[in-house]
């Protein structure tokens, strides 16, 4: 049975009458990369802070790896890594010294083993050449990568990444996403907070969408996609060499097809109830036309996101 790492029940936080997080019910299983989505100010960071025990919830309860973060914050912080948005390091210390300090704060025994771990981590995040350079000389992307190494020093079971890719160039984003996938392979549960939809779509297995403090949608990308896609309809784009009117008629007769329109000279847009790609392909080939390409329009996360954040 898969273990639940994060579980919240009716978790609520209000600041001076403003409700930042409203009766949140979350269940995040071990080993997932959970995309926590929502516009700025939706309550993502507040939720994380409550899960870390850095802020007390107004009402409701949370359990992180079996601990209550409000009552046992130290136990939670020992096994949970948190990369805050705009993370900072001691500029006068080198990358290695910064990580060593984190290790000391985690009460990890010093010595060769920890030095080796620090070296390995800095190599993993691609900072092996600058381990003994002062952080003041680091670029924003390097600091973010150092941040990832920093949360891994304690060998966490769960990590919260708050906008880890904001303000980073595309190459850097790719590297950070790779690191996150690598982390998940090491059985670390990742909660990835972002409003960068394409990135979430690329790596996350589960997604939760937060709007105005409420969880408006949750589930796997596929399921959310099906719920959103054109009201349960599929759109298939087919490229055929010189489509004849006869072919269009034939496709229209296929069971389940609602509509066929020719969008450009050699492509057709087919709307149907279910994924009819194989039937349509067969029809086209049987009719003697040559099938060049076929593409099913996936419900992109952007659509899902837009739909739900409107609802919220």
């Amino acid at each position: 049975m898969e273990q639940v790492v994060v579980e919240t029940t009716e978790l609520t936080k209000s600041y001076n009458g403003f409700i930042a997080v409203d009766k949140l019910n979350l269940r995040i299983k071990e080993g997932e990369i959970y995309g926590f989505l929502g516009p700025n100010g939706a309550g993502k960071t507040t939720t994380i802070l409550m899960l870390l025990g850095l802020t007390e919830p107004t009402s409701g309860a949370a359990r992180v790896c079996g601990y209550n973060p409000t009552r046992e914050p130290l136990q939670v912080k020992r096994i949970v890594g948190y990369l805050p948005e705009n993370v900072g390091f001691y500029e006068d210390l080198t990358a290695r010294q910064n990580l060593r300090y984190t290790a000391e704060l985690n009460n990890l025994p010093g010595g060769e083993e920890i030095e080796k771990r620090i070296n390995n981590l800095l190599t993993t995040v691609g900072l092996s050449k600058v381990v003994d350079q002062k952080v003041a000389e680091f670029s924003h992307g390097m600091k973010q990568r150092l941040g990832i190494a920093d949360i891994l020093v304690k060998e966490p079971k769960l990590v919260f990444l708050d906008e880890p890719t904001s303000g980073i160039d595309p190459k850097g984003i790719g590297e950070i996403l790779d690191l996150i996938v690598k982390m998940a392979k090491r059985k670390v549960t990742v909660i990835f907070c972002s409003h960068q939809l394409s990135q979430v779509q690329k790596i996350c297995t589960q997604v939760g969408i937060l709007a105005k403090g409420r969880l408006v949608a949750e589930g796997s990308l596929d399921r959310l996609g099906k719920e959103t896609a054109a009201g349960g309809r599929y759109r298939i784009e087919v490229q055929v060499a010189q489509p004849s009117t006869n072919l269009i008629k034939l496709i229209k007769q296929t069971k389940g097809v609602k509509d066929v329109t020719g969008s450009t000279a050699d492509s057709l847009l087919i709307t149907c109830n279910s994924d009819l790609r194989s039937q349509i392909a067969k029809t086209i080939v049987d009719s003697g036309s040559s099938l060049i390409g076929m593409k099913i329009e996936e419900a992109s996360l952007e659509k899902i996101y837009k739909k739900y954040s409107r609802e919220g």
Partner: protein, 312 residues
């Protein structure tokens, strides 16, 4: 907490701020002893009992004594060690990362305070040590055991006084997000206590019980008593009273009224107070400084513990 303490201590020792302060303090010490040696012959008579302590208290006409230097510099050292304790962590983005580590939140502020206190102690003890050592070498009068005891209490009192200023500047560092603001606030208070408080005390005493040459002894006594009481609101006065009682045992009393009368009625024998009596004399002053430092630390502690992380 030990990890925080050790890191802060290392930071202090490596900081340019510490090196500058240390050099300035030592230069002041050397300058003071130069003045003392130039003028010590004029203050020492065959009946003088505490010749060694004279090194610290002798001033040369317009040039100030070591006591003046140290009461001027200790607040500056204290403020310099504390004014950016918390807000620099916040500004650099380190604070949320630091608090996500498995340490209690008060470890951060306790560790910083203790590290500052250690640095302060090192500075005070070394500057007193340098002055004493140079005095010993140049004048060639060795201190008696009572003089050594008095110097030790002097050092302890000075450290406590510095701790008050450090605690005060830490309060501002918790309340103000910008290091410059908290520095200015601390300096403003320092200037107020250092320059304006004696003036205010004098003005109020003048208004309450004005004196002239024909005033009765009772009126003069009440005038000075009033002035003394008001001036003691300032920690500077508390500190200066304690160190002058410690280092000039023949002073006999801290009561400005009594002192004024003894001056007026000339002819009073200046019999030095025994060490224990001097301690009893300064006890209320020292306790007041400790209380002020404790109050300041408690304010910053409570505020820091209750601060919402969101604003950090």
């Amino acid at each position: 907490m030990y990890a925080v303490f050790r890191k802060e201590l290392t930071d202090h020792f490596n900081s340019i701020r510490f090196i500058i302060l240390f050099i300035v303090t030592i230069l002041a010490g050397i300058f003071a002893i130069y003045i003392a040696i130039q003028n010590i012959r004029s203050v020492v008579t065959p009946t003088t009992e505490f010749i060694f302590l004279k090194i610290f208290t002798t001033s040369g006409g317009t040039l100030p004594s070591f006591l003046f230097f140290i009461s001027l510099f200790i607040p500056i050292i204290g403020i310099a060690l504390g004014f950016d304790a918390i807000n620099s962590e916040r500004a650099s983005g380190n604070l949320s990362r630091l608090l996500a580590q498995p340490i209690y939140r008060d470890s951060v502020i306790n560790g910083k305070f203790l590290a500052g206190l250690s640095v302060l102690a090192i500075m005070v003890i070394s500057v007193i040590g340098i002055v004493a050592g140079l005095g010993l070498y140049i004048i060639g009068v060795s201190p008696t055991s009572e003089e050594v005891l008095r110097l030790i209490v002097f050092a302890v009192t000075s450290i406590i006084y510095g701790a008050f200023w450090m605690a005060l500047s830490i309060v501002f560092s918790v309340f103000f997000n910008r290091a410059a603001t908290s520095m200015l606030a601390s300096m403003a208070l320092w200037i107020f206590f250092f320059f304006f408080m004696p003036m205010i005390a004098g003005a109020i005493a003048n208004a309450q019980s004005p004196i002239d040459q024909n005033s009765s002894t009772a009126l003069i006594a009440s005038h000075y008593a009033m002035e003394g009481m008001i001036a003691r609101i300032s920690p500077r006065i508390l500190y200066e009273e304690s160190i002058s009682a410690l280092l000039t045992p023949e002073l006999g009393s801290l009561n400005p009224a009594l002192m004024a009368i003894s001056v007026l009625s000339a002819g009073r024998m200046l019999t030095p107070l025994p060490f224990v009596q001097s301690l009893l004399l300064i006890w209320p002053q020292v306790v007041s400084i400790i209380a002020l430092a404790t109050i300041c630390f408690a304010i910053s502690y409570l505020r820091f513990m209750r601060q919402e992380i969101r604003s950090i």
